[in-house]
Symmetry: C2
Subunit: 193 residues, 2 copies
């Protein structure tokens, strides 16, 4: 289910990865993210600190991995019968989840790893969700924008504000972006080839 490309993924390694990930999530819940450090996590997870340092390198990388796991969709987007409806429901859920301090921290944690892999994986998760909605709409015969258009003009502005704005994006903002989206720029979008 996860990025277990480890050379020896059987049993113990996977067990420890799970244990550490779960421990981090629990500690974030109970103690808050600010107070986390490697020795604390190690003790709570019942492993030795050097295990964490050797597998993840540092706290930032571990938090990034845990945050990425949280961004992985657990289901296909709710189907409402129209692209517009699908987008509204999905974006509503996304904004609800991500405008909290916890949510914004998740995004930052993903980006705080020096490796770009996690950020890229996160973007791909989101794109997949959009693609499902677009494919459904296309099957219904709706005239649909490209997934690039969706990302450029709907998703990117929301993420930009989540990351950079002192006041997070709200539902009204998202709905206006959807409105524009459904009127203009259905296709012929840049694909950054």
């Amino acid at each position: 289910m996860n990025d277990l490309k480890a050379t020896r993924p059987g049993g113990r390694s996977a067990r420890i990865q799970q244990s550490v990930h779960n421990t981090v999530r629990n500690l974030i819940e109970t103690q808050g993210r600010e107070s986390l450090n490697v020795p604390l996590i190690a003790q709570a997870a019942g492993v030795t600190p050097s295990t964490i340092y050797r597998r993840w390198g540092d706290l930032a990388q571990l938090l990034s991995d845990v945050a990425l796991e949280r961004m992985q969709p657990d289901a296909a987007p709710v189907s409402t019968g129209s692209l517009r409806g699908d987008l509204e429901v999905w974006i509503e859920g996304y904004i609800e989840e991500m405008t909290s301090d916890v949510g914004r921290t998740i995004l930052r944690d993903i980006l705080s790893s020096p490796k770009i892999e996690n950020a890229d994986a996160c973007a791909n998760y989101m794109r997949q969700q959009f693609d499902i909605m677009l494919e459904r709409a296309a099957e219904r015969g709706e005239e649909v924008p490209s997934s690039d258009a969706l990302i450029n003009h709907l998703f990117a502005p929301i993420v930009y504000r989540l990351l950079f704005a002192s006041s997070p994006p709200n539902l009204a903002f998202a709905r206006e972006l959807i409105d524009e989206m459904m009127v203009t720029g259905k296709s012929c979008e840049p694909s950054n080839s």
Copy 2:
């Protein structure tokens, strides 16, 4: 020039802040950002480590401050006689600067502070640049989009890809966004009130 809201900004404090900031920039140039740590910076800057810990809290905050300083525009955008031209030149410069590994790291560093202030300040710098271009265009009598529209549909997609895409945005991508921008959605944009 900077966020010197310190209660005692005279002489020494400012000197030390400058010295530390300069040292960080130099060390990033010469040693690379990965190898940086607080004791190293302190020694190179000729201060004691506890000074850095007390003023900045930790390395992430210091790097965030230095990165923010780099994002501060040193001049008004080049004036070309048209909004489109201004945008093209400015975005071209921005992309050239930010698509390098160093550039992308600057953005991430700004976001890696737990305080959102620096990210907000960064967004404001950029908005000011756009506002200058828009005001010029309005004075010339051009029909102009809102700065929100510019941020949502031109700048946000570029930043999104800088942060999340394994392959960074290129000039062609930016030009296509500008093209769309100049044709559709001149006004009535969401302002996230």
